[in-house]
Each structure stands twice: as structure tokens, then as C-alpha cells.
């Protein structure tokens, strides 16, 4: 195909069309990978609600339901901190053929617990982004801790601090805004050590949060969670109405 006006069109038009199709196609493909089911207002009482004793059970539930590509709206006293580097062990014995495996499957089998469940949700693809609604002190601590982070910026939903490109957004109950899609709601009992069930229900309604699954976690056996908080979690469940 020679460099002539006709040749230019014959080469350029397919490339431009291919680019447009690819961009559109990849966008559609990405969205098609999200496992969103029939959703409604989170406070409506019609949204399916599950109570779990432990955060790890929340992860297992999401996994069992093949949840994928979701926004997780996390309500907790603070972001469950983990040290991902600690999970990454390069074996000292490294002979060919190398014993390689799916790193995330390895993590899921070995390190799932109350502090890693959210990290694993991000790694396994259950969550493609997390909006963490935390207590005011925890939010300020997150702001302070990430002041020198390479990528941190204020967005409409709160403070965006990606981890290896994974979007994590921190906010408070006051700052909760409406996500643009139905979310997986996760409410930890310790969230009620700084807020009330009425307040949470009111803010969810005001923000217009839509969901297809709400997980309420009692954090049983966690000595840092008060019985009062667990009772408030149960009251929140009652405020939401029927569900189940």
C-alpha cells in the first residue's frame, strides 16, 4: 500500500475504527464482568441482608456468590491494616522448573482472617474499588498517614489513596456520597463505636445508596469490639426492616 492519498485513507480508517471499537469493546467487556444482581435502596428492607459472625465469613460469602468487579462500601471504625509485603515470600530454594502458582489463591488459602478479608477481596477481584467509611479519628489518621503518599488526591467521594493502582477511597459518614452503581455494603459492628444505627440509616437514605447485598458483621470474638456496638449492629438490622 503506497503512500498516496488513497493509501493513507486505506490504512488510517481501519486503524481509527479499530481503536474506537477496541475502546468501546474493552469498556463493555469490563462492565460485563461485574456481578451486579437486582438492586434497590440499601435502606429499603428489600435488599438481601446476611449477618456473619466474622469478617472472614463475609469474604467467603462473596466468594461463594462469585461476586466480582464490585464497589465495596465498607463501614468500620478503621481500615483493616495489613502488610502485604509480609505475605510475599520468595522461596530460598529456586530451582528450575520454578514452583510458581497463582499468588492470590495461595493467599486465600493461607492468610484469610479478620484483618485480611478486605485485602483479599481486592486481590481476588471481588472488589475493584473500596469506599471505606470510617470514624472521624480514623479518617484524620488516614489523611495524616498518606500525606506523603505518591498518589493521594481528594475526589468527590473522599480521599483517594490507591494501593498499587487499586482505588481506595476514605471518607466519613458525613462525607458519604452516592456511588454511581449498586454496591456491596459491609457494616462492621465496630462502626457503631462511633456512630449510631439511626445515623447510619439516615445517611444511607440521604446518599441514595443502592445495593444488592448487605453484610452485617458481628466481629464475634474480637476483644476490641464492645457488646454495645454489637447490639447497635443488631438494632441497625431491625431498622432496615425485613430483608434477609
Amino acid at each position: 500500500m503506497q503512500a498516496t492519498p488513497r493509501g493513507s485513507l486505506l490504512i488510517a480508517v481501519p486503524i481509527l475504527l479499530a481503536a474506537l471499537c477496541a475502546a468501546w469493546g474493552m469498556d463493555r467487556y469490563g462492565k460485563s464482568q461485574r456481578s451486579v444482581r437486582a438492586a434497590g435502596p440499601a435502606v429499603s428492607g428489600a435488599v438481601r441482608r446476611v449477618v456473619v459472625p466474622d469478617p472472614a465469613e463475609a469474604f467467603k460469602l462473596w466468594r461463594k456468590e462469585h461476586q466480582r468487579g464490585r464497589t465495596v462500601l465498607f463501614f468500620g471504625r478503621a481500615w483493616p491494616k495489613v502488610q502485604p509485603d509480609a505475605f510475599l515470600e520468595v522461596p530460598e530454594v529456586r530451582n528450575y522448573p520454578l514452583p510458581l502458582s497463582n499468588y492470590v489463591t495461595f493467599l486465600e488459602e493461607r492468610v484469610l482472617d479478620r484483618s485480611t478479608f478486605l485485602f483479599l477481596a481486592t486481590e481476588t477481584g471481588i472488589a475493584r474499588r473500596v469506599v471505606a467509611v470510617v470514624s472521624e479519628p480514623a479518617f484524620q489518621a488516614a489523611q495524616e498517614a498518606n500525606r506523603t503518599a505518591k498518589h493521594q488526591e481528594t475526589v468527590a467521594e473522599g480521599l483517594l489513596v490507591p494501593y498499587m493502582g487499586f482505588p481506595r477511597i476514605f471518607t466519613t459518614l458525613k462525607g458519604l456520597s452516592s456511588p454511581e452503581e449498586p454496591v456491596l455494603v459491609y457494616v462492621a459492628a465496630d462502626f457503631f463505636q462511633g456512630s449510631s444505627a439511626d445515623e447510619l440509616k439516615r445517611r444511607l437514605a440521604e446518599a441514595g445508596v443502592l445495593s444488592d447485598l448487605i453484610v452485617l458483621c458481628e466481629q464475634a470474638g474480637d476483644p476490641e469490639v464492645s457488646e454495645g456496638a454489637r447490639r447497635e449492629l443488631a438494632r441497625f438490622a431491625m431498622l432496615l426492616g425485613a430483608g434477609g
Binding site: M1, S8, L10, L16, R128
Partner: protein
């Protein structure tokens, strides 16, 4: 030079490059980086996650390594096969481009020879990480662009754009070579009367901007498989950019040679140190992979580029100026970055540095009575220096008496700390 002789010499140099890159490769200790390349490839293709290693770089390496792991298993070729292939193929690419831009077969062969014996190139052709891709893909793209200029066939131009896209999908620094090449092409086609105005613009736009962008975007398909939409992609790019722009190692502060301003002023090094053991319970072995730049090849670079610029401007030789532009546009952003940068980033620059030095050497020895003697002496010295540097680059330096002592002293000096326990002793 007769075509037959050129090919023979080039074949010999390619065989040399191959031998230096594959010798003892299967027994070379597997570095943590090599291992993590495999882990990251699986993580990207099966989970859509960039990382855990080098997450801030685009994912072409992950795609290629995953394919080779599936086809060839997790042996040396599965992990390192692509770097090996690209490292070897860069050798003839340099010669073919050198012929066209420098208009000298001798300079072309010299550039290929430099690459073949350069220990940094050897080191990284033997590793799983993708720095060698920074040399290969832009050179491939430039060669295809040259073919377009020779034949006026737009498929070559499209091929060039695709190769640039693959390069950018390895590391973003290839954008600078794309920029230089675009300028060169626009200059060279300015006199093509039957291809002007809109036709030229649309063709260049499609092949050198849209097509590389398309190739780059497609390499993120596994990431989109996590449920992301196109509107979320720019945020990922921003995160990657910010990490790259401020990157000084993951976790620990950077050590070792990391000042790009001195790359061409004195011999510099790239070191990779780690422990490995053959069997559980056996004693660990301390390994040092140490690439030291060959002063015969690296130190003439800046004068050589200056010479390129002077001669190219004086004689209005666009090829020389293009080569100088490639070097300047590739090196300046690195040199001006104002942060610590490891020597492996030099792969964005070294092909053009080697071409420049080759041209300088060729001009010095040409048309001289004792030119052949000079050339033989220079090449002999270059090879002589390569001999002791080679075992350092392949991780065997600690097994050689007296060399081990030097390496351990170097390690202590460069790391600024005592040797790890079990590494050996400085006597």
C-alpha cells in the same frame, strides 16, 4: 563492504551475542526478580492485577511471560526466553539501522559488536525482567520506519507504529524514541510531492499516535477483566505515572550506582545480590550479579554524540542528526529527572550511544594508513575488558579467586553496610 562479507561478519557477531547470553544460563542462580516475574505474570493474566512486582510499569512483560510459561513451562526459557530473544535480536537490529543512518557497514557492525559484548546488555538478556525490551522494540520500530522511507509502503509505517506501541507497553520511556522518529519521518517525507497535506497528517496520526495507543490499551485487557471501565483507566495511569516519577526502589532506600549524570563519565555498575540454596537445609549461597560498563564502549559516548551533531549539521545528514536526537531525547529526561535512577534504565539510551560510538570509531580509523591496526587494538582492548567483566555479569564472580575479594569489597562500599551473614568475609 561486500554484502556477503557484511552478512558473514554480522552472523559471527550475532553468534557471539547468543553464546555470551546462553552460556551457563540454565545454571545461573534464579534471582528474586526472576521468580517474581513469573508470579506477576500469573497474577496479571489470572487475576487482572498489576504486580506484585513492578506494578507501575505497563503489562507487556506479563503477557509475554505468561504465554511462555504456558507453552514452555517454568524453566529458564519460560521465565527468561523473551529477554534472551530480544537481547540477541537487538544485535542485528543495530547493524541494520546503523547501515541506514550511519551509511557505513563498519560502523553498523561495530554497534552490533558493542551490544554483543556489553555486560549490562548481557546481564539483562539473562534476566526475566523487561529492560531489554526498551532497546528491542524501539529499534524494531525505527527499522520499520526506515523501510517505509525506502519503499513508501504504508504497511511498514503501520508496523513501526505497532512496534512503538509494544515498546510503550513495556515502559513509557519509548515515547521519547517515538517523538524523535516522528520528527525524522516528517522531515524525510517533506519532499514527497504526491503525498502531502491531509494525507500525510492522517497517515501519521493513525499509525504513529492512534495505533501505538491502541496496542498499549489492549495490553490492559486483563485489568479490564476485573470489572473496570474505560473511565477508570486514566486513574490507574495516573497512579502508575506518580509511582514511576518518584520511584526509588520498593521499600528500602536506593543504593548502588544511581546517578544517570555519570553513566558516560566513568564506569558504572548495576548490582543484584541475593541468597539462594539448592535444597532445603543446605547452606545458602550468596550471589552477586554485577554488570560493570565497559569504558571502551561507554566513555566515548558524549564526544561521539557531539561529533554526530557537528558532522550531521555540517553535512546536512539527516540520519546522523536523527541518531543524535534519539540519544538526546532518550537521555536528557533521565539525566534531568532529579532522582536516583538505576542503570537498567539506560537501555532506553544505550543502542543510540553504541551507534554514536561506532560512528566515531569508524571515522577515526577510516582513511588512515594504520586504521586497521588502530581498529584491531581498540577491539582487542574492548574484548580484553569484557573477559573479566563477563563472570561478574553472570553471577560467577564470587567463585573466582581474588575476584571474590574485590566483589565483596565493592558490595560493602556500595551498600554502605556490612555484608549479609553468610556472604563471605573481606580479608
Amino acid at each position: 563492504m561486500e554484502e556477503r562479507n557484511f552478512r558473514r561478519w554480522l552472523l559471527g557477531i550475532v553468534v557471539l551475542a547468543l553464546l555470551l547470553r546462553v552460556a551457563w544460563l540454565a545454571s545461573q542462580p534464579v534471582s528474586p526478580d526472576d521468580y517474581m516475574v513469573g508470579v506477576s505474570a500469573i497474577n496479571y493474566l489470572e487475576n487482572g492485577q498489576l504486580g506484585p512486582t513492578m506494578w507501575n510499569h505497563p503489562g507487556l512483560r506479563n503477557l509475554l511471560v505468561y504465554a511462555s510459561l504456558q507453552l514452555l513451562g517454568s524453566g529458564v526459557l519460560g521465565i527468561k526466553g523473551w529477554s534472551l530473544l530480544f537481547g540477541i535480536l537487538t544485535t542485528p537490529l543495530l547493524a541494520l539501522i546503523g547501515r541506514r543512518l550511519l551509511k557505513s557497514d563498519l560502523a553498523a557492525l561495530l554497534a552490533a559488536f558493542f551490544w554483543a559484548v556489553d555486560t549490562l546488555s548481557i546481564d539483562f538478556s539473562r534476566q526475566g525482567i523487561n529492560d531489554v525490551y526498551l532497546a528491542f522494540f524501539p529499534l524494531l520500530a525505527i527499522l520499520l520506519a526506515c523501510r517505509f522511507l525506502e519503499t513508501r509502503n504504508l504497511w511498514w509505517l503501520a508496523g513501526s507504529g505497532a512496534a512503538f506501541g509494544l515498546g510503550i507497553a513495556s515502559k513509557w520511556s519509548v515515547l521519547f524514541q517515538l517523538l524523535a522518529s516522528g520528527g525524522y519521518l516528517l522531515y524525510e517525507v517533506r519532499s514527497w510531492r504526491d503525498w502531502g497535506g491531509f494525507s500525510r497528517i492522517i497517515a501519521f496520526f493513525a499509525t504513529l499516535i492512534v495505533l501505538p495507543a491502541l496496542v498499549y490499551l489492549i495490553t490492559f485487557l486483563p485489568w479490564f477483566g476485573r470489572g473496570y471501565s474505560l473511565s477508570e483507566w486514566p486513574q490507574l495511569q495516573k497512579s502508575m505515572y506518580l509511582e514511576t516519577a518518584h520511584h526509588t526502589r520498593y521499600g528500602r532506600p536506593i543504593t548502588g550506582d544511581h546517578d544517570p549524570l555519570v553513566w558516560f563519565l566513568r564506569p558504572v555498575t548495576f548490582e543484584d545480590t541475593f541468597f539462594i540454596t539448592s535444597r532445603p537445609g543446605e547452606e545458602n549461597r550468596f550471589v552477586v550479579l554485577l554488570a560493570v560498563t565497559n569504558p571502551c564502549i561507554w566513555l566515548p559516548t558524549l564526544p561521539a554524540v557531539g561529533f554526530l551533531l557537528w558532522r550531521g549539521a555540517r553535512r546536512r545528514e539527516a540520519g546522523l542528526l536523527f541518531l543524535a536526537a534519539l540519544f538526546v531525547l532518550s537521555y536528557l529526561p533521565i539525566a534531568a529527572a532529579g532522582r536516583a535512577i538505576w542503570l537498567n534504565t539506560a537501555f532506553a539510551v544505550t543502542p543510540y550511544a553504541f551507534l554514536a560510538v561506532a560512528f566515531l570509531v569508524q571515522r577515526v580509523v577510516s582513511d588512515r594508513k594504520n586504521g586497521r591496526v588502530l581498529l584491531a587494538g581498540y577491539l582487542g582492548l574492548t574484548l580484553l575488558l569484557t573477559v573479566p567483566l563477563y563472570p561478574l555479569a553472570i553471577g560467577e564472580g564470587l567463585r573466582i579467586p581474588h575476584m571474590d575479594e574485590l566483589i565483596l569489597r565493592y558490595f560493602k562500599a556500595i551498600e554502605g553496610s556490612d555484608l549479609p551473614k553468610g556472604a563471605g568475609e573481606v580479608k
